[in-house]
């Protein structure tokens, strides 16, 4: 059996915040040119009445509008976001967000649970659904993430007091919602070849998100130098090599039309490609970016890029894609797949 992504949905809040606008609100300006270093020109921030919940529902409804399935056909709803804002400034532990989503969508019969694995949440969702569909536990499943991550940027603007501060990474993020539905309808022409994930736990303490101890709202503290070090970068090509060996054939960059990596920054996305190029001594295909216009949207980022490039017709049916996720943990993930006829 081959699983596939059957449909995909996206929601982007309307409010665009440019990097220069964001920096203009800071008392202590960065000692470097943030836009030049990250390549991020703008990102979206939620409006006052938007939250993790609303962005997830908007993305899920968009996904269902492109799907052959009705809400009552979905066997499992998984929420995969880091943020858990039910409304403006209220984060929800219990009941799980997935329960609220399935009730709002009308998928009452579906099972539900939340997963959390930092920016790897949605690719982890692919791995879980791939296994659960193949195991015969469910036929269809939806992974949805409303990623209301802008509060960490707002806190960073208020709190950064040192030109080298561990909250600078928080200035790169943007809000969004994304969703996809998976089923077992894959074929030789479309579907997921394999999905593999691993956690290298020595890096687990390098990026911590939690409520600020000074202000209202969340903050994120990142040891950027260690997090984005050559050492953490070097895992990517080694992991690719090992996963492809495990699946019976060496990695060939030319076997893919595009790569989509987690959208950390333009510079880091290029670094991923250079690491692959140097390790395998071959030019990788283009990494499809959205980070320049939308920032790092955390758990949704790969799927925001996938949707955006389906919409602008860069991506089309039959394209071979390698998705590469990286996330606090540090989690590394790979999804090898052939795109079906995804409507957006």
């Amino acid at each position: 059996m081959r699983t596939r992504i059957e449909s995909i949905g996206l929601y982007l809040p309307e409010r665009e915040v440019t990097t220069s606008e964001l920096i203009s609100g800071m008392k202590t300006k960065p000692a470097f040119n943030l836009e030049r270093i990250t390549g991020i020109k703008a990102r979206r921030f939620r409006s006052e009445d938007e939250s993790t919940f609303t962005m997830a529902i908007n993305a899920a409804e968009n996904c269902l509008s492109h799907s052959r399935y009705e809400p009552e056909d979905i066997d499992l709803v998984i929420s995969a976001s880091i943020s858990r804002l039910k409304e403006g400034t209220t984060a929800l532990y219990e009941p799980p967000l997935s329960l609220l989503y399935k009730k709002r969508l009308g998928a009452f019969q579906a099972e539900n649970f939340d997963i959390n694995n930092a920016c790897a949440g949605m690719t982890n969702g692919i791995r879980i659904l791939d296994a659960m569909i193949k195991a015969g536990q469910v036929k269809t499943g939806m992974v949805v993430s409303g990623e209301c991550i802008s509060p960490i940027a707002e806190t960073a603007v208020k709190e950064i007091s040192d030109p080298i501060d561990d909250q600078f990474s928080a200035l790169t993020v943007g809000d969004s919602g994304a969703a996809f539905i998976m089923d077992g309808g894959g074929s030789a022409e479309e579907g997921i070849d394999f999905v593999e994930t691993t956690t290298v736990s020595k890096y687990s303490h390098l990026c911590i998100g939690q409520p600020s101890d000074k202000n209202a709202g969340y903050a994120m503290y990142t040891k950027t130098k260690e997090m984005l070090s050559p050492e953490t970068l070097s895992v990517i090509p080694r992991f690719i090599e090992e996963v492809f060996e495990k699946h019976g054939k060496p990695f060939e960059a030319s076997a893919y039309d595009y790569i989509i990596t987690h959208q950390v920054s333009v510079r880091r996305c290029k670094a991923y490609m250079n690491a692959i190029k140097e390790y395998f001594n071959a030019d990788p295909p283009e990494n499809l970016l959205v980070v320049d216009d939308l920032g790092n949207t955390a758990s949704t980022s790969i799927f925001v890029s996938l949707y955006t490039h389906l919409e602008n017709k860069r991506l089309k049916k039959g394209n071979r894609l390698l998705l590469i996720s990286t996330a606090s943990g540090i989690n590394y993930g790979l999804v090898s797949m052939t795109l079906g006829d995804l409507e957006v």
Partner: protein, 295 residues
């Protein structure tokens, strides 16, 4: 045939208020009891909810993996993976289900399910309903047709999602150390009735197939209130060999309740090879889950 619990471990030091440390201690005890190398753990699933400082990144599981020194560095040929699965006191049965999918369809052979809940302030706080505690269970696959998890059923109510809510209020500074519980007066009564309904449904579906009405079934349940399991069984009109109640000993152990109940029942000799065990999880949502396990 199915997912078997190879070993369990707990962390019950009431003076410890660190969610990661509770999970690491329980995980460490579990690995020791299983007699395996820690690097043989392929997947760590954390199902605990209430954690130090209300942190949201990374997930708890990679921190627990790090604390247990499982595949600490990237080494060729050895991989481990970890993530959090969150569904209140039913999370254990979700982890069994996800564990089963991985054990059946991938090269994952060993799944460590860890749980812990603490008040985010790292202190004892009056009114917080959950006991600071940790638990761990090691799951493996068995081809023995007389062993393992057989059927798992989840059910949620179409309404009632606001009968129990736990939230972090981020409108003011200090949210690291606070969690607010909103609980309606009738919540526990409704949860008993709803869970009894789920159990009745489970018996209608699987009772005859597995001979569940024979007075030989052992019940392990969530502990949201004292004698929860007995009340559920009485409401459902279901017979039992025994219903484990640890409320007087530990209080509401939330995400760890099912693992701890199993751990203590095996240790005391109440669960023996060949026994039929029904796990019942129940919590916010309303959500309840029932799983049949053959020891």
């Amino acid at each position: 045939m199915g997912v078997v619990i190879k070993a369990t471990g707990t962390s019950t030091d009431a003076s410890l208020h660190d969610s990661i440390e509770h999970a690491v201690r329980a995980g460490s005890a579990c690995i020791k009891a299983a007699g395996i190398d820690r690097n043989d753990i392929d997947l760590t699933l954390n199902i605990g909810i209430y954690r130090n400082n209300n942190f949201c990144e990374p997930a708890s599981a990679p921190l627990v993996q790090s604390g247990l020194d499982i595949n600490y560095s990237y080494l060729k040929g050895r991989k481990s993976f970890s993530l959090d699965i969150i569904n209140g006191a039913c999370g254990f049965l979700n982890a069994v289900q996800v564990g089963e999918a991985f054990l059946k369809t991938t090269d994952i052979k060993s799944v460590l399910v860890v749980s812990s809940d603490v008040h985010p302030s790292g202190k004892e706080v009056a009114g917080f309903p959950f006991r600071n505690i940790g638990a761990a269970a090691l799951l493996e696959w068995s081809d023995d047709p007389r062993r393992g998890f057989q059927e798992i059923l989840f059910r949620t109510s179409p309404d009632s999602s606001e009968e129990f809510e736990s939230i972090i209020d981020l409108s003011a500074p200090g949210a690291r150390g606070h969690v607010h519980i909103r609980q309606m007066k009738e919540y526990h009564n409704h949860l008993v009735d709803f869970t009894a309904g789920t159990l009745t449904f489970f018996y209608t579906e699987y009772g005859e197939k597995h001979n569940l009405q024979s007075n030989e079934t052992i019940f392990l349940t969530s502990q949201p209130v004292k004698d929860f399991g007995s009340m559920v069984l009485e409401t459902a009109g279901v017979n039992a060999k025994s219903v484990e109640c640890l409320y007087d000993k530990y209080g509401d152990t939330n995400s760890s309740a099912l693992t701890i109940a199993y751990h203590e029942s095996v240790e005391s000799g109440d669960i023996k090879t060949g026994d039929r065990v029904v796990f019942i999880g129940a919590g916010a949502g309303l959500t309840s889950a029932v799983g049949l396990y053959l020891e």
